[in-house]
Each structure stands twice: as C-alpha cells, then as structure tokens.
C-alpha cells in the first residue's frame, strides 16, 4: 500500500465508521462460541416430544464441551423464551445445573416475545460491558410443540382493553400481518417469490453443509405417530426445509387468515422447536483464557411501533442500531432479518433499500422455522459462521416483535 493510500485510510477512519468498527480493543465484548440445535417442525418434527428444558440442556452441554470453558467461570446465564410459564425461570436454572454449570452460576429467564433470544444475549453483553459480570451465556429456547396454544396470549382487563391501542396488542399476528400486507401494498406474488427464495437458499445451504458447524446433534426420545412406538433418534438437521418449492407452487396455497388474503402457510414462518446459546466475554478475558474469538458485539437497539404494525419493527430498529455503531446500511455485509412473515420482511427490505443478496443468505424462518424465543440467539451463530465463510465483516441481526416492537444488533466477525 502506498503511503498516500495508507494515509487516506487512516484519515478516512476518522469519519467513516467501518474501519473504526472493526478495530480490536481489549474491552470489546466478543463471542467465543455460538451454536444451536437443529430446528424442527412443531408437532411433527424430531423435537416434538422434547421439552424446552431438554433442548436447552443439550445446547448448554454442547457449549461447555465445544468452547472448553470452565463452567465455573461463567457468572450469569440469560435465556429468552416466550411460551414457558414464568419465563421458564425454574426449569432453565435446573437445566443449567444439569448441564454442568455449578450452583454459583446465575440463571434468568426473560421474555421479549420474538426477540427474547437476542435480548438475552444483549443483556449478557451489557452486563459484561457494565462490569457486573466477566463471562456470561445468552441463550434462547422454545418448544412450540409443547408450549404453543391459546394460553400464550394473556387476557386483558377491561380497564386496559378500553384503550384502543392497548386492545390491539391481542390481535393475532396473522390477522394483523394480513392487514398490513394489504395496507402497505405487498402483493402475494412478491411474498411468494421471497418465500420460495428462502426455501431454495436453505436447501442449497443444507446440501452444502453450511449449517453443520453451528448445529449440535441432539439425541432425544421420539414417538412415532403411526406406530405409537417410542424411539431414540439423533436430530442434526433442520427438518422444515423442503426441496422443490417455487413461487409457482406457493401460489396455489390457500390463504390462512382471510379468504382473499395473501398470507398462507408457505410464506409465513414455521411453528418450530429449537435452542441456541452464545458464550460472551471481554476480548481481554478471551485472550487470557485462550478462547477463540468468533466476532464481537457492537451495539443493539430496541424500538416501539404501533401494535398493529408489528411487522415494520426491523425497518425502525435497524437504522437506530446502525447509527449507534456509526455505520451506514451499505457497510453491512449480511443482514439476518427474521422472516416472521414474507410480507413484513419484504416491506422492511424494500423500505430500507437493502441489497436483497445480503438478506438471509442461508434462508430464514420461512424455510426452517421460527422457534420464538430461540430465533434471536440462533441468528447469531448463523450470521457469524456465514460472515466467516464468505470473508464478510459486519453483520446485523433483527426481528419484529409481537405487540409492536423491533430489535436489531450489529456484529463484527473476526
């Protein structure tokens, strides 16, 4: 590099954020291990008979084994979940103990709807940055097979219901997304094309073995629905991924929420089971412990949007997170934006003017599922492994959040 070029790089780092963003500092919050279980179809898939706590136990055990960390050095664990009663506080503490974390290690469950997994990881990153802990685990888990049902959404009191916007918090996701797709002019062909692409990308990624690094195989009990026979199986593949899906084939499916609607089972996220976990610490700690650094956490954002426009969350949250990180949308190499519904995802991408080739390069929740509390933590392993493989640097994970919120986080792979 000529001296003029290196001088230019140095000076431009003062104004453009990306060079500064990728610089390494001893107090960066880094990820040294990120993994997940396979994600399987709710009620039918490999984990249909596995409780959430068992999924979490499996993810924790794998995390300890793969990272080689002394479990006693972990000071706190946060687990995001949506459907477990009491945010799973009791069962997750028990699962951590069973996985080999000593009693000294704190555990909490938390629920911020579909972003619970990301919230858990960000909470741990902030606790490390704030000096409360030195090493922590952020995780997410959901068994929609066992937890999904009418009890998932609580009743509202008369007093709360009297407020119009408050009452909207109970409108089912499918219904409000249908309305949003109509209001914001997201056509069915556009949704189907996006959904078909998600399937095709996932099929390709699965065939190429691109999920192999992040998925830990789990051996579980499984009852064959035909023979009622209980078997022991090892699950190591996302079983929701279907080959041969095209926009053409999706166009034949019947709308699920309204007769003349545009949303159907093929262009919305699947009901699924799965768990994911992320090990975080300061760079200085990682270097002291000899932990390999996968990437670093930079910044996160949480924003609110009207409950009925829940799906626009990423559109509002992503620019805020990018602003905190001091970069522009084109500085990002990969966006992992949760595909709750093709309609909302397509709208956010178009409205933000993002390059479609950067979005969910290995497919998304439409192809392999959206285990609610798990997704936010799952995206981190999917993102960091893909950034590393493609030589990319900066990534963003984001999702819309039920009752009208959006969350996003910026990551740098190393």
């Amino acid at each position: 590099m000529s001296s003029a070029q290196s001088r230019l790089n140095q000076l431009s780092s003062h104004v453009a954020g990306k060079a500064a963003l990728t610089a390494k500092h001893p107090d960066d919050i880094v990820v040294t291990c990120a993994l997940r279980t396979a994600i399987t179809k709710g009620g039918k898939g490999g984990f249909k008979d596995t409780p959430a706590q068992d999924l979490l136990l499996g993810a924790f055990k794998a995390l300890i084994e793969r990272s080689g960390i002394d479990p006693g050095l972990v000071e706190d664990i946060a687990v995001g979940t949506v459907l477990a009663p009491g945010a799973g506080a009791t069962e997750f503490r028990a699962a951590a103990l069973a996985a080999g974390f000593p009693a000294d290690v704190g555990v909490k469950g938390l629920n911020r709807q579909c972003s619970s997994g990301l919230q858990a990881v960000v909470d741990i990153a902030n606790a490390i940055r704030g000096g409360m802990i030195e090493v922590g685990v952020g995780a997410g888990v959901e068994s929609m097979s066992q937890g999904y049902g009418p009890g998932a959404v609580s009743e509202l009191s008369d007093l709360v219901k009297a407020h119009k916007e408050a009452a909207n918090c109970r409108v089912p996701m499918g219904v409000l997304s249908e309305k949003m797709a109509e209001d914001r002019n997201v056509s069915r062909p556009a949704q189907d094309a996006f959904a078909a692409k998600s399937y095709q990308k996932a099929v390709k990624a699965q065939a190429a073995g691109l999920f192999d690094q992040e998925i830990v195989p789990l051996t579980v009990k499984w009852t064959d629905p035909k023979t009622e026979e209980e078997k022991t199986i090892t699950v190591s593949r996302d079983d929701g991924v279907r080959d041969g899906v095209t926009a053409e084939s999706l166009s034949k499916l019947r709308p699920a929420f309204a007769k003349d609607g545009s949303i159907h089972g093929g262009n919305a996220s699947q009901v699924s089971d799965g768990a994911a976990a992320v090990l975080l610490m300061k760079r200085s700690t990682a270097e002291r412990l000899g932990q390999p650094i996968m990437g670093k956490y930079v910044a996160a954002s949480i924003v609110g949007v009207p409950p009925l426009l829940m799906g626009i969350g990423p559109w509002k949250a992503i620019p805020v997170a990018l602003g905190k990180a001091g970069i522009g949308k084109d500085d990002v190499d990969i966006y992992e934006i949760n595909e709750a519904f093709a309609s909302q995802c397509v709208w956010c991408i178009n409205e933000l003017g993002l390059d479609e080739s950067k979005i969910n390069p290995k497919g998304g929740a439409i192809a392999f599922g959206h285990p609610l509390g798990c997704t936010g933590a799952r995206q981190i392993s999917t993102l960091l492994y893909e950034l590393k493989r493609t030589g990319g640097k900066v990534g963003v994970t984001s999702m819309c959040v039920g009752t009208g919120m959006g969350m996003a986080a910026v990551w740098v792979a190393e």
């Binding site: 001296s3 140095q10 000076l11 780092s13 500064a20 610089a23 107090d27 940055r129 704030g130 001091g326």
Partner: protein, 351 residues
C-alpha cells in the same frame, strides 16, 4: 471575523505566537495532506487585515506546528515524512534543524511550557519522543504501541507528558520516574469508560472504544485533561481519579469526529473544539458555579453544555487556538476549506 486564504493548501493546525498578539502560524498541506508538499504560514494581523509575513515550503505534508517557548522567532513543524523541523522566521527558506527518528507521520508537536528547554512529538509509529532543540538525537522515547495523534507536556509540570492514541487511551508519563520496563508510564485511562455512578444518578451506559484524536490540559486546574476523537464526544478527566474513575464531564454534540480541543487561557471551565462536522464549538464543562443545570442529551454528564458554535468553515475544521492576549474570546481556526478565520467566541455564544 477576519479571513485569510491558504490557497492550494488545506489547513491542519493553527497556533498563536506566545510572544506577539498579532502573529499566527498555520501548518498546511497540499491535497488534503494525502500526498504532496506542506507549507508553514506565518501570518500577521494588521490594520489592513491578515497578511503573510513569511512562508516555508516542505517536501511532505505538515500536520502540526508549535511555537518555541524560549525563542520568539523559532517554530516547530510535524511532517508526514516522519521528520520534525525547526524554522527561524527571521531566516528564509530552510529549517535550522531537522530530526528524523519517527518511522511514520508525525501528527503533533508541543513545546514544554514549564521547562522550555525540551519539546515532544507524537507519531503514527506508536511513540512519543522527547527532544532538546540543541541535540541531534531524541532524549527519550515513550512507546504507546498505538497510533498517537496528540501528545502534550502538562502546562503545570515540566516532566509530566500526556498522549492520546487510536486505542482509546489517555496515557500519562512522568519523566521523573526511574528508568524501568514501564517506560515512565504512570497512568492509562480508558477514554471510553462510562462516568462513575453516583447517588441519584443512574450509571451511564458504556460505549465502544474509538480513536482519540486530540486532548488538552486545563490551564488552571492542574489535574484536568479534556479528550475527544472519533466518537464525537468530548470528555474531561481528573487524573487524580486514576484509571477507573471515569470522565468528570461528557459533552456530546458534534456530528462527526472532533479534531482539535483547546482550553481557554482565561476561563477555567471553557474549551473550544474543531470538528470534521465543519463547526468549531465553545463549551463549558460545567465546573463553574452557576453554569448548566439542564441535561438535554442522555449521553451528557457533569453539567457541561455547548455555549455556541461557529459554522463558517465549509470543509473539515482541523485547527483552533485561543489568543493569549487582549480581550478574552479571540481565537483563530483553520480547515480543509483553505481558510483561516479569526473570530470572537463571544459573538457566537447564545445569549
């Protein structure tokens, strides 16, 4: 407001003479300092406006300048080729001394205000060097292991040296300490550390580290240093609090990186900044009684606030300096718009 055009050269640093109220030096570079020559302007303030008393052309870009504290005609320059040159403005064309020890761009030079017989330089090669103008070789090398944009002697002690660098640390070296493996390093303060929580004040969120580009010692309070850089925020530190004490004041407001900071020679709480956002802003750090009770920005801390801004520059504002003489408030700024502006901060302060 007085104006002067440094035609063909983009300003990098501006300094009032400590001896004459009408003399200003500007270090500038062709092609924005990326490649090409540098030029040191010696400007005179006259009844007919700003005139060029003299200029010196150099082989490589100039990034900083410092007047000698012991000789009214001598002045230092920091150069892109790693050299430091001493010019005598009563002579023509060539420097009277040149030192080349730095391996990369020299980005700051500063004369010892107390000892007056030494000066220092800091460089992108990750070192600060201490020099005596009568010697060929440097006296001491202080490693920072990180691109060091700014270094200074304390205006209160001849042996206290401070430096800020791209690793987001403010380092203090005490030259009185015995030679050891620590290379005189006595304190390293993480500039990005959050302010200390106190009763009634919620703990502030941490921010990621970012390159520190400039700093300055308070002229009245001998333990207070202000730092700023790429994260756009100005922070003041009290070195008595040690490495983990956090900033005393946090002043957000600039829209881009802050390139230069300088405390007022007249008022203990007032400082001036120049930024890539093309503005120069005047601030109070909140330490004066009766100043600042509102916290408009959630990032702000310590009761300081912006008092006013000068937005006449049309490119990055890179240098700003206070006039030591006369009415308190006159200052000079330079920028990449090839302009030198002489103005009064009281004219831009919101009433």
């Amino acid at each position: 407001m007085l104006e002067f055009r440094t035609q063909g050269f983009n300003g990098y640093s501006i300094k009032y003479s400590p001896f004459f109220d009408s003399r200003i030096a500007v270090a500038s570079s062709a092609n924005f300092g990326l490649v090409g020559n540098g030029r040191l302007y010696i400007l005179g303030l006259t009844a007919n406006g700003i005139v060029t008393e003299k200029w010196f052309d150099t082989q490589d870009s100039l990034f900083d300048t410092a007047w000698s504290e012991s000789h009214e005609n001598q002045i230092l320059t920091a150069s892109g080729d790693g050299s430091i040159k001493l010019f005598d403005i009563s002579l023509d064309q060539f420097p009277i001394q040149s030192w080349s020890e730095h391996g990369r761009e020299v980005f700051s030079v500063h004369w010892n205000l107390v000892g007056k017989d030494t000066f220092l330089s800091s460089s992108w090669d990750g070192t600060v060097r201490i020099w005596n103008p009568t010697r060929q070789q440097s006296l001491t090398t202080l490693p920072t292991h990180s691109c060091t944009y700014s270094a200074q002697f304390s205006p209160h002690s001849a042996s206290l040296v401070s430096a800020v660098s791209s690793d987001s640390y403010l380092r203090l070296f005490d030259l009185r300490t015995p030679a050891s493996a620590s290379n005189h390093l006595v304190l390293a303060i993480p500039i990005h550390s959050p302010p200390r929580a106190s009763p009634g004040v919620p703990p502030a969120a941490g921010v990621p580290p970012s390159e520190a580009l400039t700093h300055d010692w308070n002229k009245y309070r001998d333990s207070v240093v202000a730092c700023a850089g790429v994260d756009r925020v100005i922070r003041t530190f009290d070195i008595r609090r040690g490495a983990s004490g956090g900033p005393v004041a946090v002043l957000p407001g600039h829209d881009y990186a802050v390139r230069r900071l300088t405390w007022s020679p007249h008022l203990s709480d007032v400082l001036l900044s120049a930024s890539y956002d093309m503005t120069c802003r005047v601030w109070t750090d909140g330490s004066a009684i009766g100043v600042g009770n509102k916290l408009p920005d959630p990032l702000a801390f310590g009761g300081g606030r912006e008092l006013g801004r000068m937005g006449v520059h049309t490119e990055f504002a890179t240098g700003v300096d206070w006039c030591l003489f006369g009415a308190e408030g006159w200052c000079a700024s330079c920028g990449w718009d090839e302009r030198v502006l002489i103005w009064d901060v009281r004219a831009v302060m919101a009433s």
